[in-house]
Amino acid sequence: MASGIKDKVAILGMGCSKFGERWDCDAEDLIVEAYQEAIVDAGIQTSQIDAAWFATAIEEVHVGKSGVPLSVALRLPNIPVTRVENFCASGTEAFRGAVYAVASGAADIALAVGVEKLKDTGYGGLPQRGAGPLNDMIRNNGSAPGGFAQLATAYSQKHGVDMETVKKAIGAISVKSHANGAKNPKAHLQKAVSLETVLNAPMIAAPLGLFDCCGVSDGSAAAIVTTPEIAKSMGKHDLITVKALQLAVSNGQESGHNSWDGSYFLTTRKAAERAYKEAGIEKPREQISMFECHDCFSITEMVTMEDLYISNEGEAWRDVLDGFYNADGQVPCQIDGGLKCFGHPIGASGLRMLYEMYFQLTGRAGERQLKDPVFGMTHNLGGQPHQNVSSVAIIGHQGA
């Protein structure tokens, strides 16, 4: 295996806009809001940035294609700007681009920015969009919750956990995330909810009700990265470094080969295995201090808890009900409120997750601050369970 990214790149600064229904903002406003925080946090000038990666997913209803929208918004000094899109992992892809550029020596300081302005689409949920002329002829009709809801029926069937218990466990996941989000001034939804409210919400796609689905919002997040050596030369200490960056993409096996049973994410397992190896983590359940996983839907989070090897297969529902993932549990999950409370402006989400891990690791998470975290993990899942991209990133204290 390649030597990997571990400790080769440090985070110099991060920023995150307020997420929500930002009726008064264009994408440009959100970008600048996140960037200003990041550049101040990094303590550098725009002129010091060598290259940038820009994540937006649904360009047809957004800012348009290419790196130009970012370069114009930030008046970047004609540096390379690359637009990336990889479904819901787009934000993490921008981060990956910037990190790899620094690690390769091609750039001393690189910027990653993600943004999505979903509240200009007119939709509740993600906009309906085509998938190309052939796919539009043979692919099923269905929304994102419709695709992910099927994890629940397959999971229930495979592990012999009745649907009532599954429904209760995924309900508890949403209750937990709302409790966390209530303490986060940047979250879209900052209100705790009861399990009763969650369980009695209108059905979106059986068995997922309204509170099993993440919000829809506008937001942007940014990261500035450099080498540990440069960071130190700038007077930075207690560095937070990148431990692992992995991406796994479906090759059609789940959707086309009968070996996949529909109850888990093949890609997440592969990305997680590679990420732990890259980061030198052998016992994730004990070593990972906290994580942000892609809770587009509550069932996605529950299944992902197993696919990231934090819960044993078929037992995440029990860990959830035991409070293992709560803020005061053993491995807090979605300590910032998750997609559940932030919503999912696609290009921004991966970077928003890293922002929380970074602030937790640097002891700046305010009311949500966890005690002495060492490793923070983020995870994105884009597409549908049967065909998707999955990213796993781990950051932590330098030398950990």
Binding site: G122, Y123, G124, G125, Q128, R129, G130, P133, L134, D136, M137, I138, R139, N140, N141, G142, S143, A144, P145, G146, G147, A149, Q150, L151, T153, A154, Q157, P202, M203, I204, A205, A206, L208, N251, G252, Q253, S255, G256, H257, N258, S259, D261, G262, Q384, H386
Partner: protein
């Protein structure tokens, strides 16, 4: 001898009680109130004359795809395309190859029987077999009598020269421009003239002439006819005409008004299939087709008739029934009401005809691939095998998947996506011969789907491109037709 080698039928499972229509529209047209009895069949939103013809043909061919079919006919006045051969789509959907004649027959309620006479003569002349299918999705204005009288359905016959279940004896035809109703080039609905005139000057005078011509041509006497198959929405019209022709009173077949209504051009064949499901070997069947004149065909059933026992036919499909009491749904499915489909219905549904042509077997015929090296069946067919332990390149042969069972692995009922009949059910289905796909479901009820259920694939409208008048067709998973 030329005749019918096999038959198949199709009636949509949804049945609208006429009382529901009368309840909705009786306030406006009190004349409807005398027609509250019985029920009519109604297409699901994704069915039309073509999809019903495909289903009837699949019933008729029963898994087999004879390689001697030299002609495919499709009769209907409600075909989805005015200028794109619909029978060609039917042939592709059935995977019957391309070395044959295909032809649409339309413009009259008599197209079903006139086309059938023609097809029988062609089959006799050129040998081999011919598929003759008919389907009709009839639309009518609300509060019009036709709404109560009409029904949707289809039928199909395989014609040939050997092993026939009903031998074609001969026919008589009368052509008269008697216009009981019409539908102009750009009109949406039929325009009807007075029923009493249609009965007295039309049916009672024109049909007997055709019947007599058929009897004269075949040397058969009227009282030898065992089954008099004559459509007509006028009460007791078949019995009245039969009596005038000297046909036994008990020979007149039920016109299926009580259970499905009249399926237009397809209805003669629908009634014929229903009749053949009752008939015994060695019986004489007279089939009447009405519309600007009259056709009368005579068949004699053979001792091969019992070989058709496994066909669902009309009776099997009539037994596969779901009562629909929501009149608004009937209006919406038939485009009779301005409905706000919401933002998600507004996406452009243009079809790239280049892409469709390259992939017609996949899209219309539901043909996947089977790896010659490892035997893995996969959909869609691809250049590199999907089996993670194989990965062979360019090894996939065409593999027909439409007739294999689809078992549900996971499913959901989606309230968010746009669907004409929400919630939209879909899920991962595994095919009995291998392969899988995330498939749309149709003809399912809320609460009526479970993991492990065995469905069948059906050819349906995937989406209607209303802007350009183009229906996109593909295959969906549906519950199996329960045997009657």
């Amino acid at each position: 001898m030329v005749g019918i080698k096999a038959y198949g039928g199709y009636v949509p499972r949804r049945r609208l009680p006429r009382s529901v229509i009368v309840e909705a529209n009786g306030w406006f047209n009190s004349g409807l109130k005398g027609y509250s009895k019985g029920e009519r069949s109604m297409c699901n939103w994704d069915e039309d004359a073509l999809t019903m013809a495909v289903e009837a043909s699949r019933d008729c061919l029963d898994q087999s795809r004879p390689d001697d079919i030299k002609a495919i006919y499709l009769a209907s006045t409600t075909l989805p395309f005015t200028d794109r051969q619909n029978s060609g789509i039917l042939g592709t959907a059935l995977n019957l190859g391309q070395n044959m004649m295909t032809m649409d027959i339309t413009s009259s309620q008599r197209a079903g029987t006139s086309g059938l006479i023609n097809a029988l003569n062609v089959a006799k002349g050129m040998g081999g077999s011919a598929l003759f299918a008919a389907g009709e999705h009839r639309r009518s204005q609300t509060a019009n009598n036709n709404e109560l009288m009409y029904g949707d359905g289809g039928a199909a016959l395989l014609l040939g020269n050997d092993d026939v279940v009903a031998e074609y004896i001969g026919a008589g035809q009368i052509a008269v421009d008697f216009v009981d109703h019409y539908r102009g080039q750009n009109a949406d609905f039929d325009y009807n003239w007075e029923e009493r005139w249609i009965r007295d000057e039309g049916f009672m005078k024109i049909v007997p002439d055709a019947v007599q011509a058929a009897l004269d041509n075949t040397g058969i006497a009227a009282d030898e006819i065992d089954h008099f198959v004559m459509p007509g929405t006028i009460r007791n019209i078949a019995a009245m005409v039969g009596k005038r022709c000297g046909i036994k009173g008990e020979a007149a077949r039920d016109n299926l008004h009580g259970v499905m209504g009249e399926a237009g051009t397809a209805h003669s064949l629908v009634m014929l299939v229903d009749c053949l499901q009752d008939a015994k070997p060695g019986e004489l069947v007279m089939l009447i087709g009405w519309g600007q004149g009259c056709d009368a065909l005579i068949f004699r059933t053979t001792d091969k008739l019992p070989t058709m026992a496994n066909r669902k036919g009309i009776k099997g499909h009539l037994a596969h029934r779901k009562e629909e009491t929501n009149y608004n749904k009937f209006l919406a499915f038939n485009g009779l009401v301005l409905q706000d489909g919401g933002l998600r219905s507004e996406t452009d549904k243009q079809t790239a005809l280049t892409t469709l042509y390259r992939n017609k077997e996949m899209v219309i015929g539901f043909v996947g691939g089977k790896c010659e090296q490892c035997g893995t069946v996969q959909f869609p067919k691809s250049r590199i095998c999907v089996n993670p332990n194989c990965g062979a390149i360019n090894t996939q042969e065409d593999h027909k998947m439409a007739e294999t069972t689809a078992q549900i692995q996971s499913w959901t009922a989606d309230n968010l996506t746009y669907a004409p009949d929400p919630p939209h059910h879909f899920g991962m289905v595994n095919f009995s011969e291998g392969g899988r796909m995330m498939a749309d479901f149709t003809d399912v009820d809320e609460g009526g789907v479970a993991v492990g259920d065995e469905f069948r694939m059906v050819f349906r409208i995937k989406a209607a491109d209303e802007k350009r008048g183009f229906n996109k067709y593909f295959w969906k998973a549906a519950p199996k037709i329960q045997a009657s």
